[in-house]
């Protein structure tokens, strides 16, 4: 039996073990469920290590090499690899209760850095560009619906004033648009879940059993 057939059969057995849950919970399902937790954690550890930590931290610090070129010990590039590496290791202080507070230093840099990084792009992409795109002349039914729909949706989520009078009318319009939008999302969600099932059935019927395609 070739290696390919053995590995494919292993994949098929594990696939069927997961599907056995549809009948009822059982040890085959639990085994597969726990196996994937361990295997995926190990996979991510190896990928992170070889793909990122080794070339960007370990090799510059210990082998004095960065991107195929030699770097001097205690030179700028060496420190630029060592310091963030040490900061990253400080995160593991959380496992030692007496020193757990040390882990807040790199966490502060990381949380603050990413928060600051996102401020302008989010403002531009989610707010300014969208408002610009929806600033339409009210010269067609579509444009009127888009403008009214957006206003209605925004007003619906504005809870600082009671939804009465004109505000109430717009909030009601907003609900209608939201329900249709959520309906579209639901239809797509069904499509998405079914596609995942089709993919697995295709694997079982064509890659494993060779009954089709």
């Amino acid at each position: 039996m070739s290696h390919h057939i053995i590995w494919t059969t292993i994949g098929a057995i594990l696939t069927l073990s997961i599907y056995s849950f549809l009948y009822k919970d059982n040890p085959f399902y639990k085994f597969a469920e726990h196996l994937v937790v361990g295997i995926s954690a190990g996979y991510y550890l190896v990928i992170y290590t070889f793909n990122f930590i080794v070339p960007n931290v370990a090799r510059p610090v210990f082998a004095l090499e960065l991107s195929g070129e030699a770097i001097p010990l205690a030179g700028l590039e060496w420190w630029m690899a060592l310091i963030p590496g040490l900061l990253g290791l400080l995160l593991y202080a959380r496992f030692f209760p007496k020193f757990a507070w040390v882990g807040r230093w790199p966490l502060g840099i990381y949380v603050g850095g990413y928060a600051g990084l996102g401020l302008s792009p989010v403002m531009q992409a989610r707010i300014l560009s969208q408002m610009q795109a929806n600033s339409l002349p009210l010269t067609s039914v579509t444009n009127v619906l888009l403008v009214v729909g957006l206003l209605g949706t925004l007003i619906y989520f504005f809870f600082s004033m009671r939804h009465k009078g004109v505000l109430g009318v717009f909030a009601r319009i907003g609900i209608v648009f939201l329900m249709v939008g959520f309906g579209a999302s639901f239809g797509y969600t069904v499509m998405s879940r079914i596609s995942l099932l089709i993919g697995r059935v295709d694997f079982l019927l064509s890659d494993w059993l060779h009954l089709v395609g």
Binding site: T15, E33, Y43, G88, V111, G116, N134, M179, A184
Partner: protein
């Protein structure tokens, strides 16, 4: 040191990253380039914290002789085998290596199948729970049915109005609603980011002194 220093570091990092977009001076951009890599390195170590926590949890289950500790052995065996294959087996994580074969033929099938279970549950929920009890729910269901039909070839076969109606739903009411949600969530994201940078939001520091 325990609270003020992390908050100060958070503020400095946040303000610097926010304003660097507007300062093209080479010293600022050079610092920004290096800081981006620092963030990635810290992120990488943070991600792997989860692996250490996983080992701790399951090790405790085994040590305390919990009822389902057998499955904890499965988790740890899976983790150990991938680490062993990835670090010590020939080919490391090259394509076709034992490590890669475990990923392609164990992790991929199980993960893909887990999520495909939802197809069955969504069908069951469609029958048992999706009720047109109110006008809003009826609108939602009608829109969903039109989109479900319009996005498959059989919808084109039944009538060309169905895909046309689907296109209209997606590009008019759906667009307006999602845009409204997007703007609202965007404002919330910005507010949260500002609160974090300014030290008003401190949940990330955890409890204790």
């Amino acid at each position: 040191m325990r609270r003020q220093l992390p908050l100060t570091l958070c503020f400095i990092a946040g303000v610097f990253m926010a304003v660097q977009y507007f300062i093209p001076h080479w010293r600022v951009q050079d610092t920004y380039d290096r800081f981006l890599i620092w963030l990635q390195i810290i992120f990488a170590f943070a991600f792997l914290l989860g692996t250490v926590s996983l080992v701790k949890v399951h090790f405790h289950k085994i040590r305390n002789r919990a009822a389902d500790r057998g499955y904890s052995w499965v988790v740890l065996a899976g983790l150990a085998s991938m680490i062993g294959l990835g670090f010590f087996a020939p080919g490391h994580n090259d394509p076709g290596s034992p490590f890669d074969m475990m990923f392609q033929n164990v992790q991929v099938p199980i993960e893909a199948t887990m999520f495909s279970l939802l197809a069955f549950y969504i069908a069951s929920a469609a029958f048992r729970a999706f009720r047109a009890r109110t006008l809003e729910a009826t609108l939602l269901l009608i829109a969903a049915c039109i989109v479900m039909l319009g996005r498959v070839p059989v919808g084109d076969l039944i009538s060309e109005r169905i895909p046309e109606a689907t296109r209209w739903i997606l590009t008019v009411p759906n667009l307006a609603a999602k845009r409204g949600i997007m703007i609202g969530v965007g404002l919330g994201m910005m507010a949260t980011a500002l609160k974090i940078v300014l030290g008003i939001e401190r949940a990330w520091m955890g409890g204790g002194d």
